[in-house]
């Protein structure tokens, strides 16, 4: 009995020491960014102060492995675009961090997945008339690693055609680009974010009307063939497979990276005016991803290497 009490006291002492000297870091610099930006908060204040517990010993005193968790700096804040990547060469997207779709399921069936820029990432093609891209390879592990970046409002190849009244200059990307775990084409399943119905099936897209929210979830760069049942009007359940991510820029052009372009389209009140169009999806994706990896902690860590890159092709940038 005395031995047991002694062990307990030792544990308490260890916990107190850990609290005092370790704690959670703040202001970490995301891996590979080379910048000194402040990342998004990883948790609300009350959770941020909570200590990480050391492994609890089992009855034999052997530490129990703790499940992996997302790094505190796994994503940048909503609206925090890559520097210079907005249409006006700034870095501001929509900074309203409110979650437009709180009950949304993450659109990839499994993790890890990486919301980030395609044209500004490694191997990115830049955009016509502007920046030529960073060079390198689309298959660079940096593209398949954290930290996430918002790219709603990012500049597009033909900025004049990408009207978006929420963005600087009234122009910019209307969705969020998400890379799957690897650069493999037509492998990673996209799933329905909520119960509803298929509302549109195009050459490379499948849209879902959410029965609960009334939103249209747009999924672009989807590889065919689709599951047999996928047609306009067909009912769909949350998490059901609707297609696979690809590098299709159109039905006949593989001119982009393997990724999902994801939009949430719905009615909105912007500056008091009624609108209907693309809503900023990043915060909703952040929350949905945390739900996904909470249930599947083995799907957090980036694959190393991210894929057998011989299976992947470089996009034929236009």
């Amino acid at each position: 009995m005395t031995r047991v009490l002694f062990i307990i006291l030792l544990i308490v002492f260890a916990v107190l020491l850990f609290n005092k000297h370790v704690g959670l870091p703040d202001g970490l610099i995301p891996s590979g960014s080379g910048e000194t930006e402040t990342p998004a908060p990883a948790a609300p204040d009350d959770e941020e102060d909570a200590p990480s517990l050391p492994p609890a010993p089992d009855e034999e005193g052997t530490p129990v492995p703790q499940p992996p968790a997302l790094d505190p700096d796994w994503h940048f804040a909503p609206g925090d675009l890559l520097p210079g990547s907005s249409t006006t060469h700034g870095d501001d997207g929509v900074t309203d961090a409110s979650v437009v779709a709180p009950s949304m399921r993450f659109p990839f069936e499994t993790g890890p997945a990486f919301s980030n820029s395609q044209i500004f990432g490694q191997g990115g093609g830049g955009y016509a008339g502007g920046w030529a891209g960073p060079g390198g390879s689309e298959n660079d592990p940096a593209n398949f690693d954290y930290a996430w970046r918002d790219n709603f409002c990012e500049v597009r190849t033909n900025p004049a055609k990408h009207a978006n009244e929420l963005c600087d200059g009234g122009l910019g990307h209307n969705g969020q680009d998400i890379r799957p775990a690897t650069c493999e084409n037509a492998v990673h399943w996209i799933v329905a974010p909520e119960d509803g119905h298929i509302s549109w099936v195009g050459s490379i897209s499948v849209n879902v009307f959410g029965a609960e929210t009334g939103y249209i979830y747009k999924n672009l760069h989807v590889q065919k063939p689709l599951p047999d049942w996928v047609e306009v009007g067909a009912p769909v359940t949350k998490g059901q497979r609707i297609g696979r991510a690809s590098d299709l820029l159109s039905a006949s052009s593989r001119a982009t990276t393997v990724h999902l372009h994801y939009e949430i389209h719905g009615g909105a009140e912007i500056d008091g005016a009624m609108r209907s169009g693309p809503l900023p999806p990043y915060s909703s994706l952040v929350e949905a991803y945390m739900d996904l990896v909470d249930d599947n902690p083995d799907q957090i860590a980036p694959l190393s290497p991210p894929a057998d890159i011989t299976k992947c092709t470089q996009p034929q940038w236009p």
Binding site: E165, L166, I204, G214, G233, S250, S276
Partner: protein, 436 residues
């Protein structure tokens, strides 16, 4: 509308037609682009209001070919291809001359006057052969019909009654007019002109009857000549599009309550980093919807056939749909507060989306203020126009061919959107009938 007599009134009738045209042109002509009237400009940019000038055509019944009908030529579809009109049973074309050197024509003439209104022939409706009314069917809809009309005989100052009935595209009689005149046998030329015009529904059929008052309004044979048609403008705005075109800026909610569904509320409580966006359920301007429905009925406008009636019936909002679409292409999905309709027309695919739920978004501080009633969002695969009407927020999306702005350079041109927007109609399902 009206029935006119004497050449002077003919001019009046033509002026009236011109006024109709002028009124339409006034509705649809672009005002100078002004920052205070952006919506008008946008609708015009959409290509919706490029109304062709009103077109008229005249049939003089000369040189018509066809099988013989007694002493005349049977008149049926000879003018369908060229003028968009065909005639029902009992119509024929006859000589109408007494002074020509053709003895046969003189002997066969049905005209009580020396000559036809123009040329040597006139149209005739024989009551015994075709029933009381001359029936004209229009494959190209008309907004005005006028003609000189005469009985083939009578006594001096005898009273006759002309009746014209106009029917819309659905076969519903939308306009009727009748007027009595005293026939003047000694007139040099045809003195009586009958006309029918409408600003409401375009006409697909007109029935013409001439009755002899002294004989209990018995229908009698009659002649027409120089039949003039004014075609209905094809690019006029539907009542829905008119309502949008009248706006001068963005619409604001006319009433709203903040809502969250139970499911979303549960999810909201589980959010870790960010808070849920506010969503509002706005009030619908049902009075405006009712007015639009009534006007559509007058115009004979209706939604093209669609699938998804159960979603229509569940919707507590007015649904905008195209009045023209490829057969069977409209598919509707939805819930109580929102809907989406996809369809195809003119070789292109579109989606119409509407919602009375608004998610409140604070835009980037660097984003420009937008005071336009219609805004646009361009994406990789589509162009979307956003607008509001009846208190509800809607969007119309044109999906690029091959879903690529590269493969479909015209995808972001706004004309195609405008042509569809111009003929949108509103419908209301069972839940909407309760005006919630």
């Amino acid at each position: 509308m009206g029935i006119f007599r004497t050449n002077k009134i003919v001019l009046g009738a033509l002026s009236a037609c011109a006024l109709v045209g002028a009124a339409l042109a006034q509705q649809t002509t672009a005002p100078p682009a002004q920052s205070t009237q952006p919506l008008k400009r946008d609708v015009l940019d959409l290509g919706a209001l490029r109304t062709a000038p009103p077109q008229t055509t005249t049939i003089d019944f000369e040189n018509v070919q066809g099988p013989q009908s007694g002493a005349g030529i049977e008149l049926s579809k000879q003018y369908e291809q060229s003028h968009g009109v065909s005639f029902g049973r009992g119509a024929s074309v006859h000589f109408c001359a007494r002074v020509f050197d053709d003895v046969a024509s003189v002997s066969q003439s049905l005209c009580p006057y020396p000559r036809a209104a123009s040329g040597r022939r006139a149209g005739v409706h024989g009551v015994r052969a075709g029933g009381p009314a001359m029936v004209m069917d229009f494959s190209r809809l008309v907004s005005s019909v006028s003609m000189r009309i005469n009985p083939t005989g009578g006594t001096l100052d005898e009273a006759f009654l002309v009746q014209l009935e106009g029917f819309d595209a659905n076969g519903v009689r939308v306009v009727t007019d009748r007027v009595q005149f005293n026939w003047s046998q000694d007139a040099f030329s045809w003195p009586t002109v009958a006309g029918l015009e409408t600003n409401a529904a375009p006409l697909s059929r007109v029935n013409v009857t001439l009755r002899r008052v002294a004989q209990n309004n018995q229908p009698v044979r009659f002649l027409i000549d120089d039949l003039t048609l004014q075609y209905a403008p094809e690019n006029t705005l539907s009542p829905v599009a008119e309502a949008i075109a009248e706006q001068r800026g963005p619409q604001r909610p006319i009433g709203a309550v903040i809502v969250q569904s139970t499911q979303v509320s549960d999810a909201q409580s589980q959010l870790r980093l960010y808070s849920a966006a506010t969503r509002k359920r706005v009030s619908v301007d049902w009075d405006a919807v009712d007015a639009a429905l009534a006007r559509q009925k007058d115009l004979g406008l209706a939604a093209a056939s669609y699938r998804g009636q159960k979603f229509v019936n569940a919707a507590e909002l007015p649904l905008l749909l195209p009045s023209k679409a490829d057969a069977g292409s409209i598919v509707i999905v939805g819930n109580r507060d929102s809907y989406n309709a996809t369809f195809k027309t003119g070789g292109l695919a579109y989606s119409l989306y509407g919602s009375r739920l608004l998610t409140v978004i604070d835009k980037n501080s660097g984003a420009p203020a937008n005071n336009e009633a219609i805004t646009f969002a361009g994406t990789e695969e589509a162009l979307t126009a956003s607008f509001s009407v009846y208190g509800v927020s809607y969007s119309l999306t044109r999906h690029c061919k091959d879903e690529s702005v590269t493969a479909d350079p015209a995808c972001h041109d706004r004309d195609a959107l405008g042509n569809v927007a111009a003929q949108m109609v509103v419908i209301v399902g069972e839940a909407g009938e309760r005006r919630p």
